[in-house]
Every structure is written in structure tokens, then in C-alpha cells.
Amino acid sequence: MICESCHQNLATVHLTEIVQKYKKETHLCEECARTRGVPYKNPLAKDPLSAKKEEPVVAPPPAGELAEPCPSCGTSFSDFRASGRLGCPHDYEQFKRGLVPLLEKIHGAVQHTGRIPARVGARIERQRLIAALQRDLSQAVEREEYERAAEVRDKIRALEQQQVEEPST
């Protein structure tokens, strides 16, 4: 069957529409179907959504960032899968995509809810404070309260300085 639009290529997209109670069939080649914006799926091409569904949740294949070894310790995700042990704290970030489903399986959760070390806690507190002060600052500028804005800006700078001085974890 030849494409009804270009009359040249083989029609591989067969569209069935109901137009005012009547069935209307259109036969197009892939190219013409695409230019007409017909929503069709090539059954041979991988649909990103269905491909995702088929992936085993527990052991995603090392792809994308998982294929890269950790720049900090050199551990690869396959090293981890073989030994069950990570190489350094940074691996949790590096292999996050692979670890999250695993953590979900082990713990039934992926978010820490327990204690926070005091130093880290202070950082988180400070980050929150800085965010709040930044809101104050834009408000002050909007209202043209420049003296107040300068005060707030100095406070923010002091806090940011503290963040830099303390090594992050």
C-alpha cells in the first residue's frame, strides 16, 4: 500500500478515525504521519515509558552516572554490587539512582528521620535562616527601606561567612 499523502513511500501507519459516525481510514508513510502530527508508536522502537517499567526495580543496570566510578574513591557500582560495601561517603551521592531502590527494599524508607549531628544541624539551621533573611531583604528593597536592607544584607554575609569557614560534610 502506497502512502495517501506523498504517493511515493510504503504506507506503514494505518490510522482509523471515527468522523461523524463514519469510520475513516488513512494510510500514511512514517514521514508523512510525523509531519501531520499523527500520534503513533513504532512498535519496534523502544518506548521510554514502557522500557522503564520492564527494568527490574532492585538491580538497575549500571547506566549513565552509575557506569562512572566514584571520583573520590574509585569504587564502581558493580564493585558495590559484588561486595555489598560502599567505598566512601560520596558513593551515596554517586550511586544514588541505584541505591535508592535498594534502600527502599532494605528499610522500606529512603529518608532519614533520626538524629542529626550538632554541627550539621547548625548548618541546616543557618541555611534556613539565610533563606528567611533573603526574603526580608527583597521585601525591604521593594519598600525602599534601604537602611534596613543594608542591615539584613550584613547579617546574611556574616552567616554565609560562617558556612564557608566550617567544612561541609
Binding site: C73, G74, L99, L103, A118, T169
Partner: protein, 351 residues
């Protein structure tokens, strides 16, 4: 501050003085911690590992503790001494058998200890007599905070304390309660306990923790999950369920007494007689007899021996302790003779 580790000092957890200590031998909490700036031990070079060991030792020393700590580098410790530490529940088997610079810091009477360079940089432990999860938690929290003042722990707001094995990340906390459950074993009710605890996220482990066998009717109940549940939350689950197991064991003990007091007395006294008279005795046999005697003492069926001595014998009759006491290496048949001899003399000295 740091002296020689005194192996002759009996651990507080064996004193039998804590709450519910007729059934609960000990409550243990451990925290897994790693410091920023060093890889995990799976990925560390020997030189860095040695550097880390010294660094951590100095930080522990600088932690302004209210008590004295003895620190020992296990690379410079004999295998026998290391095995003794395992038998006292101060270090893990893996820590004893691994290689390179690693150590253990022990507080008075073994109540607090820290393994340095085990699977994680630090494994902090509090071990207390009887059932006292809250007291153990307060103690380890205080210790953790003092150490925290000395170093930056690897931590992420999302995954909590970062550990070498993802099964420990989050709180890094494991609470283990060691229960003595002879009546439930005798009446074959123990399977029911295993089944029930597994449903609420608790695991059952052997006398020396993960992957070890139950001996002398001792079982350790511990939490499995460390991520997504707070420390208090886990402690609450333990505080809720362990008393139910204690009650279950007590009820069966009472039932055994009511239904066949003489039968139970006979069992307890026979066990005592074996310990008092035997000339050759294996470790397993000793544990079994001691278990019966322990229950007998707690039920008032026998008063010939204090509970602290029974508890102590569970540990001192283990292979490494026996060899340390005798001052020489012993093969298995020699140990069986030596063990029988030691127990016999110990019991005779009570009169």
C-alpha cells in the same frame, strides 16, 4: 588515661543486677559512624588506615569523658587476647580476625567500648546488665555527642549517618537485647517468638550476634531497620515487645513448676551435679548445664551459687578465656579437661 586493658575485670553486663536480669542478660546499643575525609575501610590503603587509627585514637582520648579508657591496638595484640575480647562481647569476630591497624577503646567494666577501623571507622557500643534500653541510650548518646565534638561524621540529611554497608545507614543504630529463654526452648514455644518478632521488624540472632548460633538458650533480639525510623521510635518498639517475651518466658517457667516441680528440680540439680563432678566437659555441654542452673537460681530452686558467678562462667569457660587462665595454648581435649577442672574448683570454692 589509657592503661593496659584489664581482661580479668568482669563486665558489668554479667553482674546480673540490671532490671529483669533473671531473663534479660544484657542490653546493647551500637552506633556505626564514619568520619569525613577518609574513605570507608573497604577502600582504604594500609598507610591511610594506620593514619586513621592514630587519628581516631587521639580523638577518642580528647573526647573529655567522665571515665578512664583503655585503648588497645589489635594489630599489636595476640590472637588469644583478641579472642578473649570477642568472648567478652567487646569486639566482633571480624574485628578480631581482620588485619592491619585497628583497635578498641574500653571504658570501666566494659560498659562502653569503641571499635576503631572495623567495618566502619567507629562502632560505638554500650553494654549494660539486664533490660535497660533507655539508660543505655542516654549513655551512648552522651558518648556520641562527645565524640561528635572531636570530629565530623559523614552524614547526609537524606540518608543519615553514612555507613560502609547501606543496611546500617540512617541512625546507624542497632539495639540488641540478650534474652535467656530456657523454658520457651524446653517447651518448644521459641519458634512462636521468632515468628512474632520477625513481623514487627525485629531480628533474632545468636549469642555472639549476627550469624552466630544460639548457645545456652540465649537469643538476641535486635532491630533491623535503621533508615526512616528515629532512634526513639526503634527504642519504643523494643521497649514494647521485649517485656512481652519476658512475660511469655515467665509464664512458661511458672507452668513448668506448677505441673512438675520435681521434674524441673531434678533437671536443675542434675545439671549442677554435672558441673560439680565432671572431669571432661565441652563448651556446648557447659552452656547447657549453666543454662539450667541459671534458670534454677532465678526460680529459687537452687541457692548453691550466685547468679553473677553463673553468668561469669558462661564467658570464662569459652576457649580463649580458658587458655588465658591456664597460661598456655590448649587443644580441644585439653580444654575439655581444663574446663571441667576450672568449673569444679570454682563451684567448690563457693562452699
Amino acid at each position: 588515661m589509657m592503661g593496659e586493658l584489664d581482661l580479668n575485670e568482669v563486665g558489668e553486663w554479667l553482674s546480673g543486677t540490671g532490671p529483669e536480669s533473671d531473663i534479660v542478660m544484657s542490653t546493647r546499643i551500637r552506633l556505626a559512624r564514619n568520619v569525613v575525609g577518609f574513605p570507608f575501610l573497604t577502600r582504604i590503603e594500609e598507610r591511610r588506615k594506620s593514619e586513621l587509627e592514630r587519628w581516631l585514637r587521639d580523638r577518642i582520648r580528647g573526647a573529655k569523658l567522665d571515665w578512664d579508657v583503655s585503648y588497645q591496638n589489635l594489630n599489636e595484640t595476640s590472637p588469644l587476647e583478641r579472642q578473649c575480647l570477642v568472648e567478652r562481647h567487646l569486639i566482633s569476630r571480624d574485628h578480631a580476625n581482620s588485619k592491619g591497624d585497628r583497635g578498641v577503646a574500653v571504658g570501666p567494666r566494659g560498659m562502653v567500648s569503641v571499635m576503631v577501623n572495623e567495618e566502619d571507622h567507629l562502632r560505638i557500643q554500650v553494654l549494660r546488665s539486664g533490660f535497660q534500653p533507655d539508660a543505655a541510650w542516654r549513655q551512648i548518646l552522651d558518648f556520641d555527642k562527645r565524640l561528635e565534638g572531636q570530629m565530623d561524621f559523614a552524614f547526609s540529611p537524606e540518608f543519615g549517618y553514612l555507613t560502609a554497608c547501606p543496611t546500617n545507614c540512617g541512625t546507624g543504630m542497632r539495639v540488641s537485647v540478650m534474652l535467656h529463654l530456657p523454658a520457651l526452648v524446653m517447651t518448644k514455644q521459641i519458634e512462636k517468638v521468632f515468628h512474632a518478632v520477625s513481623k514487627i521488624g525485629l531480628a533474632v540472632r545468636g549469642f555472639y550476634g549476627e550469624g552466630t548460633q544460639a548457645m545456652g538458650d540465649f537469643y538476641q533480639i535486635s532491630n533491623q531497620v535503621t533508615l526512616g525510623r528515629s532512634e526513639e521510635d526503634v527504642l519504643k518498639t523494643v521497649a514494647e515487645y521485649v517485656p512481652q517475651i519476658i512475660k511469655f518466658e515467665r509464664n512458661w517457667r511458672e507452668k513448668l513448676i506448677t505441673e512438675n516441680r520435681v521434674g524441673l528440680e531434678d533437671r536443675v540439680w542434675r545439671a549442677f551435679g554435672m558441673l560439680e563432678r565432671a572431669r571432661l566437659i565441652t563448651s556446648e555441654e557447659t552452656m547447657d548445664y549453666l543454662s539450667a542452673v541459671r534458670m534454677g537460681v532465678n526460680l529459687g530452686l537452687i541457692d548453691a551459687i550466685p547468679i553473677s558467678t553463673v553468668n561469669e562462667l558462661f564467658i570464662v569457660t569459652q576457649p580463649a578465656h580458658l587458655q588465658k587462665l591456664s597460661g598456655s595454648e590448649l587443644d580441644t581435649p585439653e580444654r575439655d579437661e581444663n574446663r571441667a577442672d576450672y568449673v569444679r574448683r570454682r563451684l567448690a570454692s563457693l562452699n
